[in-house]
Amino acid sequence: MARTVEKLPALAREPRRRLPRDIPRFLLLCVLAMIFLTPIYWMISTSLKPESDTIAQPVQWIPARPTLENYREILASPDGNILRWTWNSVVMAFGYTFVSVTLCVLAAYPLARMRFWGREAWFWFVLSSMMVPGIVTLIPLYIMMIQLNWIDTYHALIWPGVAQAFGVFMLRQFFLGIPRELEEAARMDGANSLQVLRHVILPLSVPALVTLGVFSFMASWNNYVWPLFVVHGDMQTLPVGITLFSSRYVTDYGKLMAGTAIAALPVLVAYLFAQRYLVQGIALTGMKD
């Protein structure tokens, strides 16, 4: 599990003589990439057209009369509080990730390193909750939110999912792989359990923590079903806000696409920077031998 993609076998050593044989492969990749990028291109192109031109015949690949009017209107709309929704998503995703990773670290550590009554039973109990699909608890949790008066609050967005089982499982596995000797040394110096965890285990677990963090963040950021029902209006998250907001522009394609682009662009930019961690994290979880 502790391997990373980046040190995968010797890619650079490939013999140069294969180059001509690569040309069809390269062309195929180019065609595929174009297909993958078409919806994104079309979104941006449409968002820059005046509404009358969005359904023009013949089709306008490049806006004939480019304008930023759609963006201006979307950002000025009193209902489309896109910046607020983005902020809500950020609060939810960071809050959730921070709390969840912290809880998982604390729970995984004794499960990996200490001996105590009920350890195995508890571990399997937590793990078995992974067999309960989210939909089963959706409605009871929704009703609990009503009773707790948490509808339309960050509480509803953050707390319900923080005690994940996957994170405990993953971190426990990783901690088990850390040599005990390092820990012993710290204990000799008089460190208590929390200090050992903080100064010995965690620094060695950065890849696992990043992986879990990225996953928790993505899961929370893209969560759609839960926020759709528990938050409304200004408390909406970006994905939910943008769909409800867009439903007003069903046939107003320029604005619809401008709104969609505004929702997509920050994520795309963030992706350019975080790409490496993301890919690494996915590779880490899937790596089984």
Binding site: E51, S52, I55, S77, I151, H232, G233, S247, R248, T251
Partner: protein, 441 residues
């Protein structure tokens, strides 16, 4: 889809004033101590600034009442309201739409507006269109005052009609069929009925009949014109009556027999086709007006939904009503009085006139007569306002409309014959109703 949210006539905002009306009551009916009331509504989009302006004016003219307004998408209001009422945290005034209101009344979420209260607050139900007011009635009691009204209308492309030789927009089934056939041409220029006509490749056409919600709305309007409703007096589904079958069959025939509508239309595809100048007619709500006005090169008119049925004029209508939800015990009676004053003021002719600048229709005849509408194309619809019928009056509109829309869709797409589709739909709806009855008191 957020129907009422699409209402947009912002273009006309400047053209309209509130002149012509002297406030019917200059004195507030609330004289108690200063109170604050909360007001939850779903008027978003272009409606929102107009509503906010009205609330601002109310607060200015009523120093002892402070209204705090919140706008949220309609769907989320329905989702939350029951829980808010149950936990005693409901807003003081909530706007509820025609398809939801009877359900909330029957489940006990709203409080009755007693005749004495209405009188004290100067709210006279005879001022409003009758069907509109009665939308918020249940078992002989009133629960809401109409603030907003929309209706199904017919848009027509003037250029296409002229090209097809149709002099004026059709009003009856025969006129409509003739006009629609004159409008329809396939890619090779052939007309319906000519040999080789290809109904799958239409260049221009009469009108597209879409699915599911808008199609159900159109079909409901024609069924009403045939003199039937979706439910009977016992509020059970009866939309498989011969009149309803006839209505649905006619719409299905527009596609399969008369070939004046493309198969597989959607509401969106028909809006696009109308904007592109391919469809002579488009059936949709008054809220489409502003988008069509914004389409370059599109010359169009708006007219009441034609009489495609056989007995009477009728069209689907939607409406929004100001209501007072049930409150916890010990609720401040001054708040209720202030809320009633707010409702009264909001629904006065002057305010209604101002409100229609956002794209709604007048809620009362006296407003419809105002001179400021003289150059407004929407005026064409006013004569038909008394014939507007909301899908309302039974607590299970969602269940009935769901089954009706699905049955219509199945018939239109040719999955079932009309009678069978409607029979199955009625069967399904009545089972859902039976279950829903258990939550009704």
């Amino acid at each position: 889809m957020n129907r009422k949210g699409k209402i947009g006539l912002a273009l006309l905002l400047g053209a309209l004033g509130t002149g012509g009306f002297i406030l019917a009551q200059t004195q507030s009916s609330y004289t108690g101590p200063k109170v604050e009331i909360t007001y939850l509504h779903g008027f978003t989009g272009p409606d929102r600034p107009v509503m906010e302006e009205l609330v601002r004016r109310f607060n200015e003219t009523h120093p002892n009442i402070v209204v705090k307004a919140t706008a949220q998408p309609w769907g989320t209001i329905w989702q939350q309201l029951a829980a808010l009422v149950a936990s005693g945290r409901s807003p003081d005034v909530v706007v509820i739409n025609e398809d939801q209101i009877t359900g909330f009344i029957a489940r006990g979420a709203l409080s009755e507006l007693a005749p004495a209260e209405l009188r004290a607050a100067n709210i006279d139900k005879n001022r409003f269109y009758k069907a509109l007011w009665e939308t918020a009635d249940y078992q002989g009691k009133s629960y809401g005052v109409p603030i907003h009204s929309v209706a199904l209308a017919m848009y027509y492309n003037k250029d296409l009609l002229a090209k097809a030789g149709v002099a004026k927009p059709p009003k009856t089934r025969d006129e409509f069929l003739k006009a629609a056939q004159a409008c329809t041409t396939d890619r090779a220029g052939r007309k319906p009925g000519q040999s080789g006509f290809d109904p799958k490749n239409l260049e221009t056409w009469g009108v597209g009949i879409p699915t599911p919600w808008m199609g159900g709305t159109i079909a409901y309007s024609v069924a009403r014109q045939n003199g039937t409703n979706l439910v009977d007096e016992k509020l059970n589904a009866t939309f498989n009556a011969p009149e309803a079958v006839e209505a649905v069959q006619f719409l299905v025939d527009l596609v399969g027999k008369y070939h004046v509508s493309p198969a597989n239309a959607t509401e969106q595809s028909e809006i696009t086709a109308f904007r592109q100048g391919k469809a002579c007619f488009n059936f949709n709500g008054v809220w489409m007006l502003s988008q069509y006005q914004g389409q370059q090169g599109l010359k169009f008119g708006i007219a009441p939904f034609p009489r495609l049925g056989t007995k009477m004029d009728a069209a689907w209508g939607g409406s929004s009503h100001l209501t007072l939800p049930r409150q916890r015990a010990g609720y401040d009676p001054n708040k209720r009085k202030a809320a009633l004053e707010f409702i009264s003021w909001m629904t006065q002719p002057a305010q209604n006139l101002k409100w229609t600048s956002a794209g709604g229709l007048p809620t009362q005849p006296v407003v419809a007569q105002d001179k400021s509408y003289d150059n407004n194309p929407m005026q064409e619809l006013f004569e038909a306002l008394p014939n507007v019928y909301p899908t309302s009056g039974y607590p299970w509109v969602a269940q009935v409309r769901g089954a009706w829309d699905a049955a219509f869709e199945a018939a239109l797409l040719g999955k079932k014959d009309v009678k069978k589709a409607l029979d199955d739909g009625v069967n399904e709806a009545n089972k859902q109703i039976e279950q829903a009855r258990q939550s009704i008191r």
